[in-house]
Amino acid sequence: MATTTTELTAQSTGAAAPFPPFNADTFASQLFWLALCFIFLLVMMWKVALPRIGGIIDNRLQRISGDLAEAAALKGQSDDAIAAYEKALADARARAQAIANETRDKQAAEADLTRKRLEDELNVKLADAEKTIAATKTAAMSNVRGIAADATKAIVERLIGKVPSDSAVDAAVADTLKR
């Protein structure tokens, strides 16, 4: 009742009516509706709207972090694969190097061995040959002495008509050969 009367006076007399925000007659109804509406809003937000929006946001965050984790895991796997590949490559290289080194060493050793054997053989042959040469030379030298003595004897006999003694000829030949 009071509300209606003040409104009527407010509308009819204008300035004489109380300023609407300070009109205490409307307070009860405003508070009643405010309480009703605000409590409804609070309950709707609390129980329905906010859990739903929060759920959407959480779900998205989880999805993003899950995707990031998966990407990180996949990257880890590919990194592992690259590391394994590089390790295999390095191993293979090292093994190839080792095999090459071994082969080269073995071949060098074999070559050394062969050369040494050949050298030994050649040395033996050389020594034989030198021995033969020395023997031949000795023999030849003794033959030369005999020939020289004979020739000396013949020359002397022809020159003086007398055969010199063997000892004198030998001494003379030896003396000459010594020079």
Binding site: S29, W33, C37, F38
Partner: protein, 249 residues
């Protein structure tokens, strides 16, 4: 010239009940409260109905409002403050939408009535008071005793702290009420000048462009104020809630 106060008049649309000596009628204020609350609820529920991981524009608005209030609350009151998230969110959205609806011509502005803003700020005040005592017991009085204050001025400080605590709901509610009330009166007064000048002939119509331009500029400012006052109300609520959770300064 139209009465700039008339827009705040509360009109009974139809009576509902009578409690004691007071009539509880469905008023224009009640209608706009129902509109605001219904609008908020419908919007938030309709836009998030499909729960899309990649949100559309409307769902983004709903999520944006959620994250905006959640961040504000979390930065001021910490993780524990999130208990009050539905409350702060409801306050913010209710005031924001009520302010914005009030800017529509011929609409009623719920928040331009002191009893509404005072009731909202009292709900915050009582929440802080009850939760503060329930959680901290008598340690809640630490709120009024700042640390590191010399003993001889401590009684004065405590007196000032208590006074400022008690005056919180008043400043909290009057700030919102006065901003909205003053803004709407100014808009109405300038708009009244347009029609007043416009009725004076050609020169008046040319002269009326000035108040028209002012109304346009003022309307933009009022849009900002509508958002800002809702934000200020919400952030003060967060700060007060923080006091209830951590009463030691």
């Amino acid at each position: 010239m139209a009465d700039p106060i008339k827009q705040f008049q509360i009109v009974d649309l139809f009576p509902i009940a009578k409690i004691g000596n007071t009539d509880i009628a469905f008023t224009n204020s009640a209608a706009f409260m129902v509109l605001a609350v219904g609008g908020i609820t419908t919007f938030l529920l309709a836009t998030t109905r499909r729960r899309e991981v990649v949100p559309g524009r409307m769902q983004s608005i709903a999520e944006l409002s959620y994250e905006f209030v959640a961040n504000t609350l979390q930065t001021t009151a910490g993780k524990e403050g999130m208990k009050f998230f539905p409350f702060v969110f409801s306050l913010f959205m209710f005031i924001l939408i009520a302010n914005l609806i009030g800017l529509i011509p011929y609409a009623f502005t719920i928040t331009s009535h002191i009893v509404v803003t005072l009731a909202l700020s009292m709900s915050v005040f009582l929440t802080v008071l009850i939760y503060g005592f329930w959680k901290n017991g008598l340690h809640f009085f630490n709120l009024f005793v700042p640390k590191g204050v010399p003993l001889y001025i401590l009684p004065l400080i405590v007196f000032i702290e208590v006074l400022s605590f008690i005056s919180r709901p008043v400043s909290h509610s009057v700030r919102l009420f006065a901003n909205l009330l003053a803004g709407h009166i100014t808009l109405k007064v300038f708009a009244g000048f347009i029609t007043l000048l416009g009725s004076l002939g050609i020169a008046g119509i040319i002269g009326a462009t000035l108040p028209l331009a002012l109304v346009v500029a003022f309307f933009a400012l009022e849009l900002l104020v509508a958002f800002l006052q809702a934000y200020v109300f919400a952030i003060l609520t967060c700060i007060y809630i923080n006091d209830a959770i951590h009463p030691g300064h």
